[in-house]
Amino acid sequence: MRALEALYRTHVERVYGLCRRMVADEARAEELTQDTWVRVWESLESFRFDSAFGTWLYRVATNVVLQSERGRRRRRRRREDLDRSAAPPAPRAAERGAVDRIALERAIADLPPRARAVLVLHDLEGHTHAEVARILKMAEGTSRAHLFFARERLRRTVVP
């Protein structure tokens, strides 16, 4: 247990950062961070040192987030259909920066899961396409295609 705690304390910021960027909700990011470390505990013996530990850890965290997304997207779409009937008031100028940031984070959270994962890992976490491909176990070309799709979706949604 102390071994797991030592690893947790060393890497928690990295894992939480990834989860927080994948979901636009702090409480959920904390839950997913905990889920990730439970998964690490359950599967560390299967880590074969055939990749960097950081790569493997990112893979575990991404899989935890992607798996938790199944089903949530359908439930969220149904809620948004109900909410759309009430239009929000226009933000004041001072609030616009925060509103823009929130809008961008929501748009990222609304991306299809794998495209979102690629965008977060490449554009927000700074990984190369080769690294993203290793983490997500996909071809580099697939990573590029997902990134293009994600950027285009965001550009049409949030760039004025």
């Binding site: 705690e5 030592a6 690893l7 939480y16 950062g17 960027r21 990011a29 940031r101 950027r151």
Partner: protein
């Protein structure tokens, strides 16, 4: 003629500096003459600027460890953290002794190896691939005698290959070493390497200083001594 408009995909690749030179020059020539594509490139840049402006999330707002510990079981006391000594859980006091199964030992070995790999990265990032060591320096090192090496580069050449070999041997023997000893040694190695970096920085300002060179050698000798002791754990 401007030629065909580059696709959005090629504009993003241009923005990411991923194009080869001929294609990059073609797109630049086109953009100079095409207001539509200049506008598109500006949109692509605006998006990436907004993404880059998103703040890094940082650490979670609270310590998540208690929740994790509760889900995986809680044998043994917790580590002291930066926030202060951790409370020992009642379950931890009852379950003293930890895991003793073969699977538990393998898990601890895996965790110990990861800690060593994280520490050994310091050696790798300081520019590996140095020429091989000179013969006979091991005896001098253990006697604590300065070899009289005249430059920091010479000290590095004398010690770093041996340190790298010992680091690998320690990683291979991580199961025999065990997690507790590995964690303790990792803390000592961090302190030694931090002191080494300070001396190296000082040598950049005072190249060739005999006192600093002797100090650098002493740091490397301590690291060698510690790694040798770890590598010898459990061997006959």
């Amino acid at each position: 003629m401007n030629g065909p408009h580059p696709t959005w995909e090629r504009l993003y690749a241009y923005r990411d500096a991923e194009l080869d030179d001929p294609e990059r020059r073609r797109i630049e020539a086109h953009i100079r003459r095409c207001t539509t594509c200049r506008g598109r490139l500006a949109e692509a840049r605006a998006l990436t600027r907004r993404l880059e402006a998103l703040e890094r999330p940082g650490r979670p707002g609270r310590d998540l460890w208690p929740g994790i510990e509760g889900r995986v079981g809680a044998p043994g006391p917790r580590l002291v953290t930066d926030e202060g000594p951790a409370r020992e859980s009642p379950a931890g006091r009852e379950k003293a002794g930890g895991r003793s199964s073969g699977a538990g030992r393998r898990w601890l070995a895996a965790a110990a190896a990861i800690l060593f790999l994280a520490g050994g990265g310091l050696l790798a990032t300081r520019g590996g691939g140095l020429p091989g060591s000179r013969g006979g320096d091991d005896a001098l090192a253990t006697r604590g005698v300065s070899t009289g090496l005249a430059t920091a580069a010479a000290v590095e050449r004398a010690y770093r290959p041996r340190l790298a070999r010992l680091q690998r041997r320690v990683e291979e023997r991580s199961e025999e070493i065990g997690f507790d000893l590995a964690a303790s040694a990792e803390r000592d190695l961090k302190a030694i390497r931090s002191a080494t970096e300070e001396v190296r920085s000082a040598l950049e300002a005072s190249a060739g200083s005999p006192e600093l060179l002797a100090e650098l050698e002493e740091r490397y000798r301590r690291e060698l001594w510690l790694l040798r002791r770890l590598a010898a754990v459990g061997s006959t």
